[in-house]
């Protein structure tokens, strides 16, 4: 493996959790719900995936459990914001705070254990293509799922009737309700999808990226994923581009730390966060563009008037 190939490979590993979490949140936001609990769902997914993998010895079961945990955890948010019409911003924060606490408690006995790593699956023939073969076709299952999810979600949102309904709900829940579309039910499903994606993103962190459990190991990725959705102006393919851009920044700063350059490591570690702010500024300064793309009902509660 060449050095360039190795670097590209680490970039895909760093980008995958961002991509998954962001693509899930994109669907949630397209349905008009703002779930700020992505960070909490990722970290719950990470700890449950790690614990399940340790206990069963199977990384695949771990990933499955992580995904299910993220999904279940998101139901808490859905119940509060959709059934009890609680404030979405505050509830999302609550989900993050609870997720960080709960994961710390669950993971306490797993700290310092060596994890089970999800193994690579080489796709016959394709993986032997020079240059890109190893990179794209000799990866773990979660990577394939993440790439598939981009195209799957894109197809679902823009080519299916259900996707159209989901977007309609996000743009005007009142009109969608009047047309007989079930707003609350669709939003529940969207939030659960987002939770499952975030949970799988967490599983990737504790089974692939660094196969171990460390408290707060999500390290702000949930927030970066939220920013990516804005950056992508709610389009799946742009999320793909954004996630890889951020993966590159993350890996780039790690390599810069290894090489030294005389720049304090803390400044380099701050780069992904600063890059997020800069990117947000660049995207959102064009008010018209943001206004045109933002789902119009985003963050608003809906109470059906029967």
């Amino acid at each position: 493996m060449t050095l360039a190939e190795a670097i590209l490979l680490t970039i895909t590993t760093a980008a995958t959790p961002l991509l998954l979490a962001a693509i899930g949140e994109l669907v949630v936001e397209r349905s008009g719900v703002l779930n700020l609990g992505v960070e909490g769902m990722i970290v719950i997914g990470a700890v449950v995936a790690f614990a399940a993998a340790q206990l069963t010895g199977s990384a695949y079961l771990g990933a499955l459990f992580g995904m299910a945990a993220g999904c279940l955890f998101s139901l808490l948010f859905a119940f509060l914001t959709l059934t009890l019409v609680a404030n979405q911003v505050a509830t999302g924060l609550a989900l993050t705070i609870l997720g960080l606490g709960l994961s710390g408690m669950i993971g306490e006995s797993f700290v310092g254990q060596r994890g089970v790593q999800l193994d690579e699956i080489a796709i016959p023939f394709l993986s032997s293509i020079p240059l890109i073969g190893n990179l794209l076709f000799n990866q773990d299952l979660i990577f394939y799922v993440s790439i598939f999810s981009v195209f799957g979600v894109s197809w679902f949102l823009f080519k299916t009737r259900l996707g159209l309904q989901l977007r309609a709900i996000g743009d005007s829940h009142g009109s969608a309700h009047a047309l007989g579309i079930s707003v609350i039910k669709t939003r529940y499903l969207a939030v659960m999808f987002g939770g499952a994606c975030a949970g799988l993103a967490g599983a990737q962190l504790s089974l692939v990226y660094t196969p171990q459990w460390v408290e707060n190991m999500s390290a702000g990725r949930g927030w970066i994923a939220l920013a990516l959705v804005v950056f992508a102006s709610w389009r799946p393919l742009r999320v793909l581009a954004g996630a890889y851009l951020f993966g590159a920044v993350t890996i780039g700063q790690l390599h810069a730390q290894a090489l030294g350059f005389g720049i304090p490591s803390q400044f380099l570690s701050a780069l992904p966060y600063l890059a997020t702010i800069i990117v947000l500024v660049i995207i959102s300064r064009n008010r018209r563009l943001t206004l045109m793309n933002t789902p119009a009902s985003l963050g608003q509660s809906f109470v059906p008037d029967r």
């Binding site: 019409v85 609680a86 609550a94 609870l98 804005v230 803390q266």
Partner: protein, 365 residues
């Protein structure tokens, strides 16, 4: 069976008062279930969590030490949240308050004078306010989402502090520990009753901030402006209020209070800078703000309760071996229940069974 909400004609004053207490009750029940699940006697656990810290004088002091930063930050956040500005980066503003306020005692560590402490406090407030000014500027100038930008700045502040105490501000006589010099006496926040425990002026600042903010929100035009713009930016514009100025006001105000909390903590409870100066006070304060129903007086009480969960967490760890993370879980539960109970203020909640729904439908047709 499903849950149906019916909008109340006016918000319920009764549930406005009751909802935080219902939430507390539910949290305690949830806590008891959690403790049982962890294999502990729930009564012992609840006792060491909520009663034990109140039985001794020194731990009452500790309670005030922990409550002060929570109240200071949350009072500031309440103004922010009421004006519909979502500053969730108070943790970063707390850190920057601590950092900027520490410039004097670190660079002029031999300066003994009564002006040192006031200077530190003012610089701390400026530090916190300026740091909160960044998301405000980005929001007003570039339309950037303040939730994300203020949160990202928390990570940046943490890393910046880490660099300072391991690099340029490391104590030259400190055997390479990542710590600054210890502050001299004139840079340390005085204790209130040194005979019985360590509670310092921080809680007095918290009390003053609470009362002033309460007065502002209740009796001054500025407070009215905050509420109007928060409820409807459009209505506020008709009244001649400026959203842009309000964004700056809310962020600078909450940033300054978070900064004051930061430098008070560094100067009072810690006495020097170190990589870790906050057990997530900036995030817990969000819970305090909501538990206090965004009312400064309510926040003061809520701050004491959340401070109790920090102390209770430590006590329960020592006395019955509960993991220290339990306190965080508790705090998370509490916020969930608070938000859920707030629904009762604006809505009647009814459980509708399938049969009942059908007969109702027939009755209507």
């Amino acid at each position: 069976m499903r849950i149906e909400l019916e909008k109340r004609p006016a918000h319920s004053a009764l549930f406005s008062m009751l909802s935080p207490f219902i939430a507390l009750g539910l949290t305690i029940i949830a806590g008891a279930i959690l403790f049982t699940a962890l294999g502990k006697n729930p009564f012992d656990a609840l006792y060491s969590f909520f009663i034990e810290p109140l039985t001794e004088l020194w731990s009452l002091h500790e309670l005030l030490i922990k409550a002060a930063p929570l109240i200071l930050i949350a009072v500031g956040l309440s103004v922010c949240f009421r004006s519909n500005n979502w500053n969730i980066g108070a943790e970063g503003q707390f850190i920057m308050g601590g950092v900027v306020g520490s410039i004097v005692p670190i660079y002029f560590h031999e300066w003994n004078s009564f002006v040192v402490l006031p200077l530190m406090l003012i610089m701390g407030m400026i530090g916190g306010a300026l740091y909160a000014g960044i998301p405000a500027l980005l929001k007003t100038r570039f339309n950037t989402n303040e939730i994300l930008s203020s949160l990202m700045l928390v990570y940046v502040a943490e890393l910046f502090l880490d660099w300072l105490v391991r690099g340029p501000w490391r104590n030259p006589e400190g055997f390479n520990f990542p710590e600054s010099r210890s502050f001299n006496d004139s840079a340390v926040l005085p204790e209130l009753f040194p005979a019985s425990g360590g509670a310092n002026l921080g809680i007095v600042f918290a009390l003053i901030a609470t009362l002033l903010t309460w007065f502002m929100m209740r009796h001054m035009l500025k407070g009215f402006e905050v509420s109007v713009l928060g409820q409807s930016a459009r209505a506020g514009r008709f009244a001649g209020f400026s959203s842009t100025k309000m964004i700056f006001f809310a962020f600078l105000f909450s940033g300054a209070l978070a900064g004051l909390a930061g430098i008070s903590e560094v100067s009072g409870a810690i006495g020097r800078l170190q990589p870790d100066i906050s057990p997530a006070y900036g995030f817990t304060a969000i819970i305090v703000a909501f538990l206090g129903r965004l009312n400064p007086l309510g926040i003061f009480a809520a701050g004491i309760i959340l401070a109790l969960t920090y102390l209770g967490g430590e006590a329960a760890q020592i006395s019955i071996g509960l993991p220290d993370k339990v306190a965080r879980v508790f705090q998370g539960f509490l916020l969930f229940f608070v938000l859920a109970c707030d629904t009762l203020i604006h809505y009647r909640v009814r459980l509708v069974t399938a049969i009942k729904a059908r007969t109702e439908g027939e009755g209507a047709s």
